[in-house]
């Protein structure tokens, strides 16, 4: 009111008439502006009338108290002045428009200041939310704090942050304020009376009036008018995504309705919440993935430890063997058995498919082989006993197992072998001739089967038993060309005089060169035995 004071001072100086402005409200009457240093007398209630009323001063000079038109509870006082009433009326007429305009400007200024304060409050809220979301991945806790801040800013007593439960086709509260969590049951999306449900389906914010009935399920959070806003988010690739949930606010402290500004603010906050929910989900999935990878790495180590060290058959036999799973764990395996002073057994198996289910079958097969091979002389019988142990699991998982098992007797100079569907089993002789040891039976798990055995001569120290899985022969380069069975045989022929583990290195090295950076799609296993 300093501007008005200047006007009053100038008026007093020019017209030799004091002037003051008064306002009465619930707290009492107060002087808003006057022209001097000393606060003038308070106009008594009797003169604060609806029309201009004279008020005699102690000296007898007249004063006129006139209400300011258009500004209720406000009076302009002119005088004491020696002039006539008409003179005072003229002063009032002169001053009233100035006072009204000044007060209107002051009111607009106050309104602007209030709105600015509200914006500051909203900006503060957004900063607060950013801080909360930036320092936590515990969404439940963050959601609770954000909801409370939001309620304070908007001036509501009740609210809930509802998240979409896809499996249950419902909205579930992850944070509530003003009510007990247990009071708010899940809100079915197909409930036609649910405000939150409608907002979720339409992707549009909504202010449901007091007269609009709500659903029974969202009753605990609803008191009078309800503001509901969808929690939207945009995927990196864009596109229309279903909302992640809905924010609902109700029970407004001021009895004024929710405004478009409130809706805009809650929408902005809901978008941030949406991003936070997505981030929290990504972090959770990432942690889960990390844990899974760690566990798979442990499973890989465990699986590799199940494979026997080739030295267990030394000095009866010299063995080079390697398994390289396509994933962390796989379904290929080899096994070795020392069966007395002159006999050694070698087994290679390939479970159809790969990954952890194949790895489970592999582990069962390894266990069964380890139990039965030392107790049973005949390889076919060993495979039968393995099949009996695995049958149920193979049936259940719709997998099968191709497996070769051969027993070399270096004293008798024989190889007795059984082959259930394993395509890559050979003997390579001292001249480099390779003879296939064909499957005598289908793989285990492909129906009723009773694997048989066969015996052939063995050249002690001269022959190599060569076993590998199709992950080796089917290894593809970037032009999808196979490495091929013949290439394996050629490498083994070429290096047949060398130590068996060196031959294994040569083959794996050639396969690696062939495939380059093309990822392996099957497990690769190679075993070479000399006895």
């Amino acid at each position: 009111m300093s501007g008005l004071r200047d006007v009053f001072v100038a008026f007093h100086s020019a017209c030799k008439c004091p002037v003051s402005l008064w306002r009465e409200d619930a707290a009492g009457i107060a002087c808003l502006a006057h022209d001097g240093d000393v606060t003038p007398d308070v106009p008594p209630p009797g003169v604060r009338a609806a029309t201009a009323t004279e008020w005699k001063s102690r000296g007898g000079d007249a004063r006129l108290v006139a209400p300011v038109e258009g500004v209720s509870g406000t009076w302009l006082v002119v005088g004491p002045h020696k002039g006539a009433r008409a003179q005072l009326d003229a002063f009032i007429e002169l001053l009233t428009p100035v006072v009204r305009q000044s007060m209107s400007a002051t009111k607009e200024l106050e309104q602007a200041a209030r709105e600015l304060a509200e914006r500051y409050e909203e900006i503060n809220l957004l900063y607060t939310i950013n801080e909360i979301l930036g320092r936590t991945v515990a969404l439940d806790e963050a959601a609770q704090i954000i909801l409370r801040e939001l309620l304070d800013t908007v001036g509501a007593r009740r609210g809930a942050l509802l998240v979409h439960d896809i499996a249950g086709a419902q909205l579930v509260a992850v944070a509530t304020a003003g009510i007990d969590d247990r009071e708010l049951p899940p809100i079915p999306l197909d409930d036609p009376r649910s405000v939150a449900g409608r907002v979720f389906t339409s992707h549009q914010a909504l202010i449901a009036g007091r007269d609009k009935p709500g659903s029974e399920s969202e009753g605990p959070v609803r008191r009078g008018e309800m503001l509901a806003v969808p929690i939207l988010w945009t995927a990196p690739g864009g596109g229309d995504q279903p909302p992640l949930g809905v924010v609902v606010l109700s029970d407004r402290k001021a009895r004024t309705p929710f405004s478009a500004g409130d809706q805009k603010l809650v929408t902005a906050v809901a978008t941030q919440i949406g991003t936070a929910i997505q981030n929290a989900r990504l972090v959770r999935d990432s942690l889960l993935q990390e844990r899974l990878q760690h566990e798979m790495a442990l499973a890989h180590d465990l699986q590799m430890k199940m494979l026997p060290d080739p030295s267990i058959v030394a000095p009866i036999a010299e063995v080079g063997a390697r398994v390289a799973p396509a994933e962390d764990v796989g379904g290929d395996f080899y096994n070795l058995f020392r069966l007395g002073p002159n006999r050694s057994g070698a087994m290679v198996g390939d479970v159809s498919s790969h990954g952890y289910r194949a790895a489970l079958i592999m582990a069962l097969a390894m266990s069964a082989a380890t139990i039965h091979a030392p107790r049973t002389a005949d390889p076919g019988e060993v495979l039968q006993l393995m099949f009996a142990a695995l049958d149920e699991e193979l049936e259940r998982t719709e997998m099968y197992l191709s497996v070769f098992y051969g027993v070399v007797d270096r004293r008798a100079q024989t190889l007795r072998w059984a082959n259930a569907g394993h395509p890559h089993a050979f003997i390579v002789d001292e001249d480099g001739e390779a003879e296939r040891l064909p499957a005598l039976d289908p793989p285990l798990g492909m129906g009723e089967t009773f694997p048989r055995s066969k015996t052939r001569p063995w050249g002690s120290g001269k022959h190599l038993l060569l076993l590998f899985t199709d992950g080796i022969s089917d290894a593809r380069d970037r032009k999808d060309r196979r490495f091929g069975e013949e290439m394996v045989l050629e490498l083994v022929r070429k290096h047949r005089k060398r130590a068996v583990d060196e031959i294994v290195d040569e083959v794996f090295g050639a396969v690696a060169k062939h495939v380059g950076r093309v990822p392996s799609r099957d497990d690769r296993t190679l075993l070479i035995l000399r006895s």
Binding site: D350, S352, S353, H354, E398, M399, Y400, S402, A420, G421, H422, P423, R436, P438, A439, L440, D441, P442, P443, G445, M446, G447, D470, D474, R521, D522
Partner: protein, 110 residues
């Protein structure tokens, strides 16, 4: 890679184009099982345009063969190229399936 399903009398003809491998075996299985659900019982899978079958592809063929047999039906295979024929022989799977050289011969034998 794709599968084509057609009818020849009472026989459901399935053509496999490209490869039958771990990545598409479930699709083949589901499509054949759908036909089984619709009452079809005689199936012929034609591999004339198939270059490669991996071990999981072989597994799905065995699984389908079992299911079809359980429901009183029959699964036959035709037109395996030399490599695939060798694969079936090397693994002794040729003893578990009825395999014909051509589609016509396979159809005649139903």
């Amino acid at each position: 890679m794709s599968f084509t399903i057609a009818k020849s009398g009472e026989v459901t003809l399935v053509e496999v184009e490209g490869q039958l491998i771990v990545g598409n075996r479930q699709e083949l299985k589901q499509r054949v099982l759908d036909e089984l659900d619709h009452g079809e019982r005689h199936f012929l899978i034609d591999f004339a345009r198939t270059g490669y079958i991996d071990s999981s592809g072989l597994g799905v063929l065995v699984s389908l063969s079992k299911k079809i047999r359980e429901l009183g039906g029959e699964l036959r295979l035709a037109n395996l190229n030399d490599d695939l024929r060798t694969l079936f022989e090397l693994t002794k799977l040729d003893t578990l399936f009825q395999i014909a050289d051509t589609r016509e011969r396979a159809l005649e034998s139903f």
